[in-house]
């Protein structure tokens, strides 16, 4: 049975969103306990369901810089199982490296999550289904998307907190580029860039509608992300039931104005809340968590004027 994506609603007609910011010292912390405690507050409808965790696995990453940390992926899986999910899959379609096995080996995913044969889905080479896009923000009109994404009950975007040299930031919304299969569109999925990257993000998210987002901000990436930036310890995990609200909160934590990040602003018209007064904050406050990220010159305008100013990156 395909997922029934929620209807597209303008902000004035949707209830407030909830976003939790949790301080986490490092990846050796008890992430599963922290997530379980946090996710209980959301009362997620996952009991007996199939959940797909979609981490950000860009490419081979022996230094652990650019991908969602496997400790958080494994902890998220454990948490959803503890919340009663029948099955929790992990799936991604790396954009820059078609050797997904090499990516898995490079991040030691198996060592954290256990045997992968029955739980990992390479979304790049999954069987696909044609999806007519619900929005027409970009030039795309349809996409072939993995059957697994279409078939699960609950989809979780699980990105890393990073800057992005084309989109400004790459968080839970941009992370959905990974569901677009390389076996249909190549490595990288260049058609999305040519269609207009910011608008393509809206079209993809309107089509697949992630139900929840958990952002790995324990160590993020600043500057020339998403691959060649600099590690940025931030000590947070940010999660919520509205990916737009989660990304807006992440941007604020990074010292950036979400209203000026084009794809977040686009998504806020139909997919969720960006306005701070429509987001119920759980856990730490944005002020307590704010860790300004360095950005490329092209994205200086995203900075909050009051934020401390780390040096720019040329």
């Amino acid at each position: 049975m395909p997922r029934t994506a929620p209807s597209l609603q303008p902000p004035f007609s949707r209830p407030d969103s909830r976003v939790a910011i949790r301080r986490v010292a490092d990846y050796e912390s008890d992430l599963a306990a922290m997530l379980y405690e946090t996710l209980q507050e959301f009362a997620l409808p996952v009991r007996g369901k199939t959940v797909l965790l979609k981490p950000n696995m860009v490419g081979s990453d022996p230094l652990g810089m650019m991908n969602t940390h496997p400790a958080l992926i494994a902890a998220s899986r454990e948490t959803f199982l503890r919340l009663g999910a029948d099955k929790v899959l992990i799936g991604d379609g790396p954009a820059m490296d078609r050797d997904t096995q090499a990516v898995i080996e490079s991040i030691h995913l198996r060592e954290y999550a256990g045997p992968l044969a029955s739980i990992f889905v390479d979304l790049n080479v999954d069987d696909v289904v044609r999806v007519a896009l619900r929005t027409r923000a970009s030039r795309l009109r349809e996409l072939y998307l993995p059957k697994t994404v279409n078939g699960v009950d609950f989809l979780v975007s699980l990105p890393k907190l990073k800057t992005h040299h084309w989109a400004g930031v790459t968080l839970s919304l941009k992370n959905m580029f990974g569901v677009v299969p390389g076996s249909c569109y190549g490595w990288p999925k260049n058609i999305l860039h040519w269609a207009g990257i910011d608008r393509a993000i809206l079209d993809i998210n309107a089509a697949v509608r992630p139900d929840f987002a958990i952002v790995d901000g324990i160590i993020g990436m600043e500057g020339n992300g998403p691959i060649q930036g600099v590690l940025k310890p931030c000590g947070t995990v940010i999660c919520g039931d509205d990916p737009v609200a989660v990304d807006a909160t992440c941007a604020r934590v990074m010292g950036l104005q979400p209203e000026k990040v084009k794809h977040i602003a686009h998504a806020a018209t139909l997919l969720g809340h960006m306005q701070i007064e429509k987001i119920n904050q759980i856990g730490e406050s944005i002020e307590q968590s704010c860790t300004p990220f360095a950005v490329l010159k092209a994205f200086e305008h995203l900075r909050q004027t009051s934020a401390a100013s780390p040096s720019n990156v040329n």
Binding site: E105, D126, H193, N224, I227, N314
Partner: protein, 323 residues
């Protein structure tokens, strides 16, 4: 250029291919003659091409190989009117898989009408970054120009109307360069030269290739195995150029660290073909297979077969297609 095949025949790699990979490949063929990326999945042009190339290296002796003829039929049926192949059934436009389909047919169905139509499409297909408008826009947008690549060079794209990248360009060059040189039209020859220069232009600083971003915002990109192997095979007629030797050095120097079947098999193919075989990484593949967690995909099985083939017809044969 190849190592002594008698020595190679004796390795455990060949037995592994004969006893494990080839039977797995044959068993995973769909009734329509094609292969999915994994056993049980719907047929697609790309895995079918790799499987067809692999089986063609080890055909069943003294009889018509029904697996091969079934795959050829799959390609004939799934070809689009314009001569191209789509990445997945239902897509109306052809893509990079046309190169792979032509490559497979050039080994197993020389002079077929399907092959000739595919080659025609491939020769005429141009990427989105080949046009003057794109170059002008890129030049005007110099402030956002983050890479150092030459705007005058282009090759082939993954999907219609998008930019040139290393892998699809390499596949197209390999296929078109396998045609008899005298049959190439002058414009195809010129196009191939531009594409080969594009590949050299996109090489990473320390040798090797990634998808096609050797430098972004002044930071050097890291090479990857797959693109490096395909670019090396596409450029093998330039073996003496220092860029090729540097890239082979990178591949050889790192081959002992590869832990995935694709990286092991592909690096072995390039190192053997270009005369740098040392450690036989093909012998490591049975070990990897025994310790597998995720079942090997059809391309992984096929590349392993191709890495162990003593004849290497798939790289060295000429298609016989008319340009």
């Amino acid at each position: 250029m190849l190592n002594d095949t008698r020595t190679f025949d004796a390795t455990p790699a060949t037995a592994f291919v004969q006893q494990t990979c080839l039977p797995n490949l044959r068993e995973s063929q769909n009734k329509d003659g094609g292969w999915g990326f994994r056993a049980g999945q719907e047929s697609r042009a790309e895995p079918t091409a790799w499987a067809l190339l692999a089986l063609s290296e080890f055909p069943v002796a003294d009889q018509v190989d029904s697996a091969i003829s079934g795959a050829v039929s799959f390609f004939e049926r799934s070809q689009l009117v314009d001569g191209s192949w789509p990445a997945v059934a239902g897509v109306k436009n052809g893509s990079w898989v046309t190169s792979l389909a032509c490559w497979a047919l050039s080994v197993s169905a020389k002079n077929s009408e399907s092959l000739l139509r595919g080659l025609h499409w491939l020769r005429e297909d141009t990427p989105g970054d080949s046009g003057l408008w794109w170059r002008l826009m890129r030049r005007l947008g110099a402030g956002r120009n983050v890479s150092v690549q030459s705007d005058s060079l282009y090759g082939w794209s993954w999907t219609p109307g998008t930019a040139s990248w290393v892998e699809p360009t390499s596949y197209a060059v390999i296929v078109l360069r396998s045609l008899p040189e005298k049959t190439l039209l002058s414009k195809t020859t010129a196009r191939l030269k531009v594409a080969e220069e594009m590949l050299f232009d996109r090489m990473c600083q320390g040798g090797g290739w990634n998808c096609g971003n050797p430098m972004v915002y002044g930071v050097a990109g890291e090479p990857q195995v797959g693109p490096t192997v395909w670019a090396l095979l596409a450029l093998r007629k330039h073996l003496s150029r220092p860029e090729i030797q540097k890239s082979l050095d990178w591949l050889k120097g790192n081959s002992g660290n590869f832990e995935s079947p694709a990286s092991c098999a592909l690096s072995n193919i390039a190192l053997r073909t270009l005369g740098r075989q040392t450690r036989d990484s093909a012998d490591f593949l049975p070990v990897l297979h025994d310790h597998k967690d995720i079942p090997w995909s059809v391309p992984e099985l096929a590349w392993t077969v191709l890495s162990a083939s003593p004849k290497q017809k798939w790289i060295h044969s000429s298609s016989g297609g008319k340009a």
